[in-house]
Amino acid sequence: MAAEPAERQSEQALLSVDGISSGYGSARILQNLSFAVERHEILAIVGRNGVGKTTLMKTLIGLLRLMDGTIEFKGESIGRFRPSRRAHRGIAYVPQGRGIFNRMSVTENLVLGQGLGGIGRKADFDRVYRFFPRLKERGSQKAGSMSGGEQQQLAIGRVLVGQPELILLDEPSEGIQPNIVQEIGQIIRRLTEQEDLTVIIVEQNLELIHSVADRCMVMDKGTIIAHLTPDEIADEEVAKRYLAIA
């Protein structure tokens, strides 16, 4: 449960974040935050509302400016790159609220996933359709007219088209039926086990975290206050202490 010392961040870490600060305007939401993610890992980030989880995700993809510190991805310092350049390097972002292009068709949304770099570089639509068959059936439909669960499938399927190496998932369970949450959890698990994929997931749904995450970080007031195992997070006492939820 103790905080991991920074020295233990191995050199093979896919992503290492060192002493970063960021926020909106001149307000610093993240303060001197450090962590690392290994390849094939599913790292969950938990914490109460407003502690800076989404700010962290936006800073990692580059939609918020880095005020201090460094972000290294595959050994390259990307902290000053614009988001499109980070995307070309193989980082994919699935935001809270899913960020679907509502006015475009399902297929067009998927095709845009090709803009993401990564290992494959070649778009693989069939693989995405195997995971989410509905996306093939609904191909010509306007993405904005689909249900929340279908949109979440599209949001995840869309980034898989480009075969990124790191996916940033911000609250995938928000506003979605429990059975689809479970399905998405299984797919995330399968992807990291079978393919060269790493996931950072921000989530409030402790059940989902328990079923997918390898490791959890607890955030409070813009920094990391604890590292937990998924079993610890499932413990009501621990959850109460760190998240003020039972």
Binding site: S84, H88, P95, F101, M104
Partner: protein
Amino acid sequence: METVSIIFSFIYQYADNIGFLLLAAVGLIIIFGMMGVINMAHGELMMIGAYITAFAYHAGVPAPIAIIFAGIGSGLAGIVLERLVIRFFYRQLLSSLVVTWGISLVLTEGFLLIFGPSILNVPTPFGSFGVGELTFGIYRLVLFGVALLLIGLIWALFSYTRFGARARATMENPEMAEAFGINTSRMYALTFGLGSALGGIAGGMFALTATISPFFGVNYTLFAFITVVVGGGANVITGVTTSAAALAGAQTIVNNAWSVYVGYVSMMLAAFLILLILPRGISEYLERRKIRVAKKNG
């Protein structure tokens, strides 16, 4: 006069008026209709196209190629304008209105200082043909044809190409587009340049029919905006074509019944009435109807 020539004359005028509105609006479809930038200097980008066409023509370049030069020149001017000024005013309606109006004045006065109040005109090509006792200029029909062709090309570009999909993604949600590897800053410059290039081509086409002066652009900016605004943003292409058809219809009828001046007034009045009933433009109404019909059928 025979009935045939009267009917033909009416259709000819209608096509001419539609062609005028569509060609004036063609660049603004992208810049205002899709990007949402109020560019009051749109007419001046057309004016630059007209000047380039005239200079190239008088230097011995054939008119069609001179017009392509105009597209390239105005496109480059548009990109420079976007990089230096416009990009700082996205999503700031009032500021962009004032700033681009300023640019329009600077360009007009600048051309006046450098080239004087007018330059040598370019003759209108193709001559005319007769129907019954009336004669009609062929070039007016060419304008109409080119207007339709350009709109068709814009539609195809934005609907079916990779560039089009990336541009639409950028217009709908720039942050997510950026996260999907699209350099949105470059995309904005490119689409603004494309809109300017189309404006330049339109300016070049009109240069063959009009007096070329630094004030060339003011004739077009207003009509371009009216056409695009009445068309609405739900579907810019169908919006602009239906809006041009409606406005030109009102203008043509009143033109024939009263006078050219009343014709223009009637067009403004038609625009006013349409926007009063459909504040978000014709295409918004058409899209809603399409959804209603689709729901009813299944």
